[in-house]
């Protein structure tokens, strides 16, 4: 090695220069990709916010829609908000205990092979498209009993189940074994250890998992079209009836030719988006916080 090589550090040969250009180019593309990813979110959220904000008023939340409205009638989507609350509430009530029990079995009792098997089933369930879940519940319930909030909630619960179960399995797995052993060594039976010691440790994780699942299904349209979409316009909370929901309302209004309908669709989309962004960001924040806490504890 000699002086020639030293100068190479400063005056690179053509090859190094070319490699450097390629590298710069690729880095630039990656930067652009990152910017584009954020920009897409920004554009979508901004579009919804800009168009929805003007129509966002108390009438939207408190007044029912008026069919065949002529002129400037005050109307809203109160029926859809009530319906969404009822459906998501019912779905959570079904999926939450079910999912937690599945997770308890998988993590605390199941032999390895069974655990993998149920895990696979949960993954597959999670991958079943919402529209297929919709026609499944249509075939299961609607054909014989007609559309209802119950039917819609069942469809949403099918979508929630793998989400809740997966989230719970993940937090259960984080509970240190020493804790279980400590309890068992005191002579506490298995079921009390599980319900009294292990499960309380995971409440935070289950809450965040459920919040994410709620945020996900609150915006689901596809499973509801065949199960809970032929609804009236009055404000109703009887789960035996088909109730209007926000996503289905947005879907129908977006297909309409009337700009006034579009405006209400934007406003409803804004409310839905705010709810979803709020709950998923809160869930994320909670999850990050509890992970930090766990990290400090161990």
């Amino acid at each position: 090695m000699s002086a020639a090589d030293v100068s190479a550090l400063q005056r690179p040969n053509d090859r190094l220069r070319r490699r450097r250009v390629v590298n710069r180019g690729m880095e630039l593309l990656a930067w652009l990709a990152g910017a584009l990813g954020v920009a897409i979110l920004g554009v979508v959220v901004w579009s919804v916010a800009k168009r929805g904000a003007s129509e966002l008023n108390l009438d939207l939340l408190t007044k029912a829609p008026v069919p065949f409205a002529i002129g400037n009638v005050k109307q809203g989507l109160a029926n859809a908000f009530v319906g969404s609350l009822v459906l998501v509430g019912l779905a959570t009530a079904m999926a939450l205990p079910f999912g937690i029990l599945v997770a308890i079995y998988v993590n605390e009792f199941a032999p390895r092979a069974v655990r993998n098997g149920v895990g696979l089933v949960l993954d597959v369930l999670n991958g079943v498209p919402g529209i297929v879940v919709g026609i499944f519940v249509f075939g299961l319930v609607v054909v014989s009993h007609g559309q209802s909030a119950y039917a819609g909630a069942i469809a949403l619960a099918v979508l929630m189940l793998p989400l809740v179960a997966r989230a719970t399995i993940e937090v259960l797995a984080l509970v240190p074994n020493t804790l279980r052993e400590a309890s068992l060594a005191l002579g506490v039976p298995r079921w009390r250890t599980t319900l009294g010691i292990v499960l309380p440790q995971t409440v935070g994780g289950i809450v965040t998992g459920t919040m994410l699942a709620v945020a996900r299904v609150a915006g689901e349209t596809a499973p509801l079209l065949f199960t809970c979409s032929l609804a009236g316009t009055s404000i109703d909370s009887n789960p035996g009836h088909a109730l209007q929901t926000i996503p289905v309302a947005i879907f129908e209004l977006s297909e309409s030719a009337d700009p006034a309908d579009h405006a209400r669709a934007w406003a409803a989309a804004l409310v839905l988006l705010l709810f979803i962004l709020f709950s998923s960001l809160t869930a994320r924040w909670l999850a990050a916080r509890s992970r930090r806490k766990l990290g400090r504890a161990t």
């Binding site: 090695m1 002086a3 030293v6 190479a8 550090l9 400063q10 190094l16 490699r19 450097r20 590298n23």
Partner: protein
């Protein structure tokens, strides 16, 4: 398990050519200095060992020499490192070019998840040394004393090799691209004695072609392989902060038999650390 090698007497200082001239090197992670005010020279075709207790900044030091620390977030350094007279830490110097000239072998063997052949050939291809690729690979593997063990299974995954073989493969990978200096960060710390011996022999074989800087926590190893030895230690400030410092730098013989600093003596005689 001792490697018996005849130690050639060091040529007089004025006949030695300086590869690195390091002045007042201070390295800082975030706000904590890891190393303060190191000044020393590294000479051509010698093996220079860096020894010292853990936490004395010897790894930080060696990683400054080919700007590996650039990759560590929050890292800063001051002072100068001249390589054949040129400041490698200067803004206009490309760290890629620096690392291409000043290679590195890491503490834990880190072969790529590729075949044995491709582990050595990949760097050559990327760096445009594509002529006589098989010959270059064979030469590097031979120099790293691995050729005979792997010549029949060059297509096999590098991960099927033992730890010692993997580390020699990493050395072959580093020397295949014909660097000027090879930095070794505790290359034998995770290896069994046989692999360690192979690596030490290899240093003796190869130092006529390359210059080596080797960090080791093993004093016997430094005594066996190194021509020059630098002893780093930990200094403590008034507020409980601590940093690494170069205590003494001299011929290996001097460091191990007649150190001039009390702290060096304590360390090499095993009274400390």
């Amino acid at each position: 398990m001792r490697v018996e090698t005849k130690r050639q007497p060091l040529p007089p200082r004025e006949r030695l050519q300086q590869v690195f001239d390091i002045q007042d090197l201070t390295a800082i992670y975030g706000s904590k200095p890891a190393l303060k005010d190191v000044s020393m020279g590294v000479y051509r075709n010698l093996v220079t060992a860096v020894i010292g207790p853990s936490g004395c900044g010897k790894s930080t030091f060696i990683r400054c020499l080919n700007r590996m620390n650039d990759l560590v977030p929050g890292f800063r350094q001051t002072g100068t490192i001249r390589y054949h007279g040129q400041d490698i830490a200067a803004k206009d110097v490309d760290p890629v070019a620096v690392r291409r000239t000043i290679g590195m072998v890491f503490q834990r063997p880190n072969p790529f998840p590729k075949s044995i052949f491709d582990n050595v050939a990949w760097g050559l291809r990327v760096l445009g040394m594509k002529d006589n690729l098989p010959e270059r690979v064979e030469r590097a593997l031979t120099q790293a004393a691995l050729w005979d063990e792997v010549k029949d299974r060059l297509k096999a995954s590098a991960l099927s090799l033992s730890g010692g073989q993997q580390q020699r493969l990493c050395i072959a990978r580093a020397i295949a691209v014909e660097p000027d200096v090879v930095l070794m960060d505790e290359p034998a710390s995770a290896l069994d004695p046989i692999a360690t011996q192979a690596i030490e022999l290899l240093l003796h074989e190869l130092k006529s072609e390359y210059s080596f800087v080797i960090v080791t926590h093993n004093m016997q190893q430094a005594a066996r392989v190194a021509d020059m030895t630098a002893f780093f230690s930990i200094s403590r400030g008034e507020e409980g902060d601590r940093w690494g410092e170069l205590i003494e730098y001299d011929s290996t013989e001097k460091i191990f038999t007649a150190p001039s600093d009390k702290r060096t003596e304590d360390y090499v005689t095993g009274r400390f650390g």
